[in-house]
């Protein structure tokens, strides 16, 4: 158990989770069994989605990518310029390797950090340099744009209350979106996912809709069908679902 504890220490985001699966199951990163890994991933998505929509969004995006790859694996392969088959997993593999590369460097950085923190610099300087307060000697030492931004933000926050920030609360719940999808499906027309979400302006609404859809699939209320377009799929209602 402690083994896994160590493995997950500092675990970050969907790419990290995939790397974890690859390592745990000793998978060949260049030949990822996409069905299995998608299944594992969806299991974890189930845990995540109850916890937080905003963060789950990143995982949902990855879930969508995985499902898209899964679909593409079943179709005739696209060909590149040289007429060779393009592996639908290629982009994902490259993203994983690129991420892994910097994750490794983060480990190197930690070693540097460690050795540096074991050194101490001189702590007390007042015995050396005379200080005279010189009003004209003001310089912009160690001040960055960030400090400037921070100062501006604070100044605006402290203005005598005349201006208001408009806070827009997005009222959207999974249940609402389930009801919405049900009503759209009941209308009987072919309902495509992209069509469903393109009318939505907020990212969060799209994410909630996606989760709602996953929920409906899980409970057997709807099913999905592939379409001619690769990135899209069709939603259909299941009788008595």
């Amino acid at each position: 158990m402690s083994f896994y504890k160590i493995q997950l220490d500092g675990f970050e985001g969907p790419l990290d989770l995939l790397l974890f699966f690859i390592k745990r199951d000793e998978l060949d990163i260049y030949d990822i069994p996409i069905s299995k890994i998608t299944g594992d991933f969806m299991e974890y998505l189930e845990i995540i989605k109850d916890l937080d929509l905003e963060i789950a969004g990143e995982f949902i995006l990855m879930a969508a990518t995985l499902m898209q790859i899964k679909v593409k694996m079943l179709l005739p392969k696209e060909l590149d310029d040289k007429g060779e088959e393009i592996d639908p997993r290629m982009d994902l593999v490259n993203a994983l390797l690129e991420y892994k590369r910097y994750k490794e460097m983060a480990e190197e950085f930690m070693i540097f950090e460690n050795s540096q923190q074991n050194k101490a610099f001189r702590g007390y300087f007042k015995s050396d340099l005379k200080e005279h307060k010189d009003e004209l000697g003001i310089i912009l030492k160690n001040i960055t744009i960030y400090d400037l931004m921070l100062a501006f933000k604070k100044a605006l926050e402290n203005i005598p209350k005349e201006t208001f920030h408009e806070v827009r609360k997005i009222n959207v719940t999974i249940d609402q979106q389930i009801a919405y999808i049900s009503s759209r499906v009941r209308q009987g027309k072919r309902l495509r996912f992209l069509e469903l979400v393109t009318e939505m302006k907020d990212k969060i609404r799209i994410i909630v809709t996606f989760i709602a859809m996953l929920e409906m699939i899980r409970s057997g209320m709807i099913g999905l069908r592939e379409t001619e377009t690769f990135n899209d799929f069709e939603i259909f209602g299941v009788e008595n679902g």
Partner: protein, 215 residues
């Protein structure tokens, strides 16, 4: 006391941000090496003298001296004129928070008048504006058409150069400021909770496996 503590004592005095009392030196050593370590004030004094003798013999630029509250390292006074060059730099004080705030308002709202600056800051800003003019970070550029035709202030090329900006459009926009600085502490906490949940789940799963094996 073992002579090996000489360099430990040096390191403590060197790194301390305050003059270091003899008693703290002894406490630090006992804390690490155990309270039964035999080390008394005379040992520390002897050790400091020993270090100073070595610094002297080898023409080093500093000594350990004892001031009111404890030991500190100090450079020898004969180097004062060389250090004067460093002091001059050091004595230039940092732009105060108030000056920075005034500069930020001018940078983002330019061209802007003094009354406008003061209505945002809520305080008289004559002194700050003068300081910034003196430092050539801002400059007067014409007059506003409003009542009293107050002077308008804008930032200078010097300002851009300092912050490494090519032009004013490179300044982060308020929208970008909000994006980076939004209440992300909260988000981060939620992320941690979520990751913990995943960890637990994985552990549970692994435990499940073990149980299956023993069945």
């Amino acid at each position: 006391m073992d002579n090996t503590y000489r360099s430990v004592i040096e390191s403590l005095i060197f790194a301390s941000e305050e003059p270091l009392p003899l008693s703290t030196i002894i406490k630090a050593i006992k804390e690490v090496d155990g309270s039964d370590i035999q080390i008394n004030p005379e040992d520390v004094e002897y050790s400091v003298e020993h270090s100073n003798r070595l610094f002297e013999e080898n023409d080093h630029a500093f000594r350990i001296i004892k001031i009111a509250n404890g030991y500190v390292f100090a450079t020898k006074t004969e180097f004062a004129n060389y250090l004067g060059y460093l002091s001059a730099e050091k004595n230039k004080r940092r732009l105060s928070q108030a000056a920075l705030e005034t500069l930020a308002i001018i940078a983002y709202k330019q061209p802007i008048t003094k009354p406008e600056i003061e209505s945002i800051r809520g305080v008289n800003s004559d002194y700050m504006i003068n300081t910034l003019l003196e430092k050539k970070l801002i400059v007067i550029k014409g007059r506003s058409e409003s009542i009293g035709r107050p002077l308008l202030y804008v930032t200078t090329d010097e300002f851009l150069k300092y912050f490494g900006l090519n032009n004013l459009t490179d300044l982060p926009k308020p929208r970008e400021i909000d994006e980076i600085m939004k209440d992300t502490d909260f988000l981060e906490q939620k992320r941690k909770i979520m990751l913990n949940a995943i960890e637990e789940e994985i552990e549970k799963e692994t435990q499940g496996d073990d149980e299956n094996e023993t069945e």
